[in-house]
């Protein structure tokens, strides 16, 4: 006997690969942010032992930009994925129509 597939199950079957991929990307971003947070703690420690202000300033500059690009690229991957999913869904709909 053929097994009935419900609406939500079918939907999950369609979006599952994208959601899992997004989950993996998010995990990687969170790991990077964790590393960035640890580096921030390192700066606190360096400040406490009165490390040269100029050196700390350079390190903080690099750290700030690392945070900017990690966040920025992550946000852009979400945007790109959304656009791509919309395009693929449209194409699939066209193919099924024909």
């Amino acid at each position: 006997m053929e097994r009935q597939i419900g609406f939500w199950q079918a939907l999950w079957g369609v979006v599952r690969p994208d959601i899992l991929a997004q989950y993996r990307d998010t995990a990687i971003t969170l790991n990077l942010l964790l590393i960035i947070a640890m580096v921030q703690l390192g700066f606190f420690g360096l400040a406490l032992i009165h490390t040269d202000r100029e050196l700390l300033g350079v390190l903080e500059f690099l750290h700030k930009w690392a945070t900017v690009v990690v966040f920025g690229v992550f946000l852009y991957t979400i945007v790109a994925r959304s656009i791509a999913v919309a395009i693929t869904a449209h194409k699939r709909a066209e193919e099924s129509d024909t």
């Binding site: 993996r24 930009w65 852009y76 790109a80 693929t88």
Partner: protein
């Protein structure tokens, strides 16, 4: 192509991560360079993100163009263990990390960096104010050595008359932070606090309407504070508070040298309550000044005290700072500054001080060449009718245009210096 796009986004983690890494690097470099060459951070950041996005999109397009090549499927984050470990580490750090302690260390470091051995920089007082207000708002413990360092830096700046416009808020923030700390007394310390509460009530009763002092009540308050000092049981926090409170009452009684000794003792016990310290040091320095340099140092301290927020138990002492400052300006020959300082203090001055203030003001105006103003002040002084010397004073001021130098000399001889009046009061 659509299939390749789907593979790229959903399955080929390695290719996606390579694209992300490449675009991050491509965005990072122009953004940093732009900021390095003076562009504002937001402009540089938007440009950086635009470059990163363009490179990421280009990578996707190039990937999708390889229509017939094999897709390598190799998840970058495959192991569940690794993900679990990362989440566990994040939760552990969030739970175990003593965030307030780290924040307190950061504020401590900031305050230390702002108060090097050298004089304060022009923006340091504002930053000190912000940092201390933040520490107080968040209830963060700043070490007492740092607070003392800040106190000494502010006092040093006041003595050198530098950053005077920004100093009072910084001094207020320091005093407010010090007062916000809660004592943790021993049993004898608790008795000392009880004595201080009693003394506080007596001191309040002693300063009747900020115009006169009830000597008996004030002496009782001094005795109660003395008992509190004895009972403080070596607790520096309680002892310094009791000493400063006693100094305030002694100042009300005109016993400035004793008050100053108490303030210095409290200062040695790391008190950060700057108001009584700078006020009393300024008054004592002004009254015992031997050199103009002493007077100039007193000016800085008194200016700071006059612009600070006086604590409620010392509200009546603000006029002391103003009148002594006016007197110091007069002694330094800065007559216009003296007039500008003394005139606003006239309405709130106690009756004993008011006569001496009228005299100082009319002399200031005469020495500044403003005879009409001097005459108006002398007339107002005489019109009050509560000082027998005022009529003679008005006559002398009226005679000034006829014989200027001898009248000035005579007025100087008749004038009662304000600091003597303060001591007498």
């Amino acid at each position: 192509m659509i299939r390749r796009l789907h593979y790229f986004l959903a399955i080929d983690d390695a290719a996606r991560q390579r694209a992300a890494l490449l675009s991050a690097g491509a965005g990072l470099i122009p953004g940093m360079l732009l900021q390095w060459y003076g562009e504002p951070f937001d402009v540089s950041a938007y440009f950086s993100l635009a470059v990163a996005s363009a490179v990421f999109t280009l990578r996707i397009w190039l990937y999708c163009r390889k229509a017939n090549s094999r897709v390598s499927i190799k998840p970058v984050v495959g192991g569940r263990a690794f993900k679990s470990a990362a989440v566990a580490a994040a939760v552990f750090i969030l739970c175990v990390l003593p965030a307030p302690r780290v924040e307190a260390h950061v504020l401590d470091h900031r305050l230390r960096a702002l108060t090097p051995g050298a004089p304060l920089t022009s923006d340091a007082p504002k930053k000190i104010t912000d940092t201390l207000e933040l520490a107080q708002r968040l209830g963060l413990p700043v070490p007492s050595t740092t607070l003392v360092r800040v106190r000494n830096a502010i006092k040093g700046a006041a003595v050198n008359s530098s950053n005077l416009d920004e100093l009072p808020p910084a001094a207020d923030a320091l005093a407010s932070y010090g007062r916000s700390l809660e004592p943790h007394p021993t049993s004898r310390g608790a008795e000392a606090l009880e004595e201080m509460r009693l003394a506080g009530r007596l001191a309040q009763d002693a300063a009747i309407g900020h115009r006169a002092v009830d000597e008996a009540e004030a002496n009782a308050a001094v005795e109660a504070y003395t008992r509190a000092v004895d009972l403080s049981d070596g607790d520096h926090f309680i002892q310094s508070r009791a000493l400063l409170a006693r100094a305030g009452v002694l100042a009300l009684l005109g016993r400035f040298d004793e008050a100053y000794t108490d303030a210095k003792r409290a200062e040695a016990l790391d008190s950060t309550d700057l108001y009584p310290i700078v006020l009393l040091e300024g008054i004592v320095l002004a009254t015992h000044a031997k050199e103009p340099a002493d007077l100039r140092q007193a000016t800085g301290l008194l200016k700071l005290a006059a612009k600070m927020r006086a604590p409620s138990d010392l509200a009546s002492s603000q006029i002391m700072a103003v009148t002594t400052l006016a007197e110091v300006y007069y002694d330094l020959g800065q007559y216009k500054d003296s007039c500008a300082t003394a005139l606003p203090g006239l309405p709130s001055a106690p009756s004993l001080l008011r006569g001496a203030l009228y005299q100082l003001l009319s002399l200031c105006y005469l020495r500044s060449g403003e005879y009409e103003q001097a005459l108006t002040i002398a007339k107002a002084y005489a019109a009050r009718g509560d000082d027998p010397r005022s009529t003679e004073w008005l006559e002398l001021v009226s005679n000034y245009p006829e014989d200027r130098s001898s009248t000035l000399n005579l007025l100087e001889k008749k004038r009662e210096p304000l600091h003597l009046t303060l001591h007498r009061s």
